[in-house]
């Protein structure tokens, strides 16, 4: 079948390949193409199914609510027709385009009713808006502002001092702008984002595959920001006070006390 005559000799610049060499060559090329297909299939099947955060890229909407620029920029939007136990506000965290936080954009609007345009990012019950710069405009005040202190106080829960192990991520990518937006391959990007002002977040993965997301604050309640850059995307243990405001969890701790945890196979449980 495979009649390769040892006397056959391939010379690349001649137009035709000797028949035996040619026949073998077709087998080799077929083999390589099969290898190509196999590699593609194996590599695709071997990858983790990525969890879906959503980034409504290209879909710009308008939002109106009370802007709290500090400690983490967030827009409080009244939930229509709320009764029962749900918080009376939805919280939309605000970031800027690219790897930037929105502190500079929203600073002057602190504690004011505003209207703004932006694109939604959401995952695991947390929602974020990538705001269109210069789209923020102040609106006439309404009663929310006056009621806020009492509402916040009513919705605050203190969960006490806890020791948690998890991963520090940048909230914007994690929530959906990138997929994957966590773990080692994403480390540099998370560093860049947090350095650019995107608030860092702590992801605690539980045995059952569920996750708890906490915003990282220092003991005084300010965002920890750049202080965590060196510990991003690694297993980290944090001892701190957990507070809840509405649906959101905050972990208050001095970033100097964050510790690297031993490498645990925590990324497996998804």
């Amino acid at each position: 079948m495979n009649e390769y005559k040892p006397d056959e000799f391939y010379i690349g610049y001649l137009p035709h390949t000797p028949s035996g060499v040619g026949r073998r060559l077709r087998m080799i090329v077929t083999g390589l193409l099969v290898l190509t297909v196999l590699t593609a299939v194996v590599l695709v099947l071997g990858q983790q199914r990525l969890r879906t955060g959503i980034f409504e890229f290209g879909d710009v909407r308008t939002f109106e609510g009370l802007m709290l620029a500090r400690p983490i920029p967030v827009l409080l939007v009244a939930r229509p027709g709320i009764t029962g136990k749900l918080p009376v506000h939805s919280r939309y965290f605000i970031v800027a385009p690219g790897k930037h936080g929105a502190d500079d954009l929203v600073g002057v609007f602190h504690y004011r009713q505003v209207k703004l345009k932006g694109t939604l990012v959401y995952r695991d019950g947390i929602t974020m808006i990538e705001v269109v710069p210069d789209s923020i405009e102040a609106m006439p005040s309404n009663e929310t502002r006056a009621q806020l202190p009492s509402i916040v106080a009513r919705e605050r829960r203190l969960h006490g001092e806890q020791v948690l192990t998890g991963e520090i991520v940048d909230s914007k990518c994690y929530l959906g702008v990138m997929s994957p937006g966590e773990a080692k391959p994403h480390r540099d990007c998370a560093v860049r984002c947090i350095s650019g002002g995107v608030p860092p977040m702590f992801v605690v993965r539980h045995q059952n595959g569920e996750r708890t997301l906490l915003w990282l604050m220092d003991r005084d309640g300010a965002s920890v920001g750049n202080a965590v850059l060196d510990l991003v995307a690694e297993p980290v243990e944090i001892t701190g006070e957990v507070r809840q405001e509405g649906d959101e969890l905050f972990l208050r701790s001095d970033p100097k006390t964050y510790r690297r945890a031993p490498q645990i196979s925590q990324h497996k449980e998804r």
């Binding site: 297909v37 590699t39 997929s179 966590e182 002002g197 060196d230």
Partner: protein, 352 residues
């Protein structure tokens, strides 16, 4: 080899080669990205493209690396070697697409220049699991760039063959960097053993094929090393005339290097075995149109003088040879490249 340089010397074989290559890449990328998007709807397009291009480059690099030893093991792989440089340049282009997208995705639009960011974002040089793997990829990309950008024959001539070859040997450094890039990078998060196994299989095939072909060479050399001088103490008995096929050669080691003993048209001529182009084994070539033709890229030499026919200028050392009683006797002192030596006639000395 040529008189003046052209851009790309496409000929029919190279066109077929490149067409197959292009089809292979389209096949791989469309499968990887298509299947990936279908099975993994959570992945963004950027992720699929970055991963598609990166793995495609690494797959191509594996093929580039195993072609050499495969050709040493079985001459029928030689057609893959002929146009390997296009494979190499394509590998670089795929790597560049991967790296460009990765730098944009992970470093651009931030508070630092993306290239500065690439250098400073991760400084955990003393931790394996957290090692700055992207910088390893960058190192590999620089090497692949230097190789791709110097792949034209102009560079072989002007960097000079020794420098050019050393530069192109650094493909192994690039390969090592990439293995580390992947192991310390994506495999730290993607823990499916299938992926580690795929990379391991690639690494194992590259290493084992090199070991097998290398040990064959060593064995062949030890069988063909000669020391027995004839009576006059000047000529060495290398083999019998009948051991050599017509228009083919037998390779033996003389004076510290291999020589090719060619038999053609009732004559014997002996040349240094090392092709001036890229050290291809002339003795594994054959006589075509009266010229010794290198099996790798087809450079040609006149068997009696070791000189390429005009207008080409390559020359290899030659050896004095005689035939006595059916035995081929070679003087082990190499003559300056291109020195004409009267071929030994077989019939005049035929033993029987």
């Amino acid at each position: 080899m040529s008189l003046t340089y052209g851009a790309i010397g496409w000929n029919r074989q190279k066109k077929i080669y490149d067409l197959v290559l292009a089809c292979g890449i389209v096949l791989y990328l469309s499968l990887f990205i298509g299947l990936g998007a279908w099975l993994n709807p959570g992945a963004t397009v950027e992720t699929l493209l970055i991963r598609g291009f990166g793995t495609c480059a690494l797959l191509l690099l594996h093929i580039v690396l195993i072609i050499g030893p495969l050709c040493r093991i079985d001459a029928r792989f030689l057609p893959l070697l002929y146009n390997r440089r296009h494979l190499g340049v394509t590998t670089f282009i795929m790597g560049l697409a991967h790296a460009g997208l990765a730098i944009f995705q992970f470093h651009a639009l931030g508070d630092l220049n993306p290239f500065v960011s690439l250098l400073v974002s991760n400084t955990r040089f003393f931790s394996l699991p957290d090692f700055p793997f992207q910088q390893l990829g960058f190192g590999a990309l620089v090497i692949l760039f230097l190789m791709a950008s110097t792949s034209h024959d102009f560079w072989l001539a002007n960097l000079s063959a020794p420098v050019w070859k050393r530069l192109h040997m650094s493909v192994y450094a690039a390969y090592a960097l990439l293995i580390a890039h992947v192991t310390l990078g994506v495999l730290q998060a993607e823990t499916n053993p299938l992926l580690a196994a795929a990379l391991g299989a690639g690494l194992a095939s590259v290493i084992s094929l090199h070991l097998v072909s290398g040990s064959r060479e060593v064995r062949a050399d030890s069988h063909s090393s000669l020391s027995s001088f004839d009576g006059a103490g000047e000529f060495v008995d290398v083999c019998s005339v009948d051991e050599i096929a017509e228009k083919r050669a037998r390779i033996v080691t003389l004076a510290g290097e291999r020589v090719a003993v060619f038999k053609y048209d009732g004559k014997i001529s002996v040349l240094s075995n090392v092709c001036q182009h890229q050290n291809g084994p002339l003795g594994e070539g054959r006589i075509v149109d009266g010229c010794v033709t290198c099996p790798w890229h087809g450079f040609q030499y006149l068997p009696d003088s070791g000189a390429s026919p005009p207008p080409f200028i390559e020359r290899v050392p030659t050896f004095r040879v005689k035939v006595d009683g059916g035995r081929v006797l070679v003087n082990p002192r190499p003559l300056p490249p291109g020195t004409r030596v009267e071929p030994a006639r077989i019939d005049a000395n035929a033993s029987g």
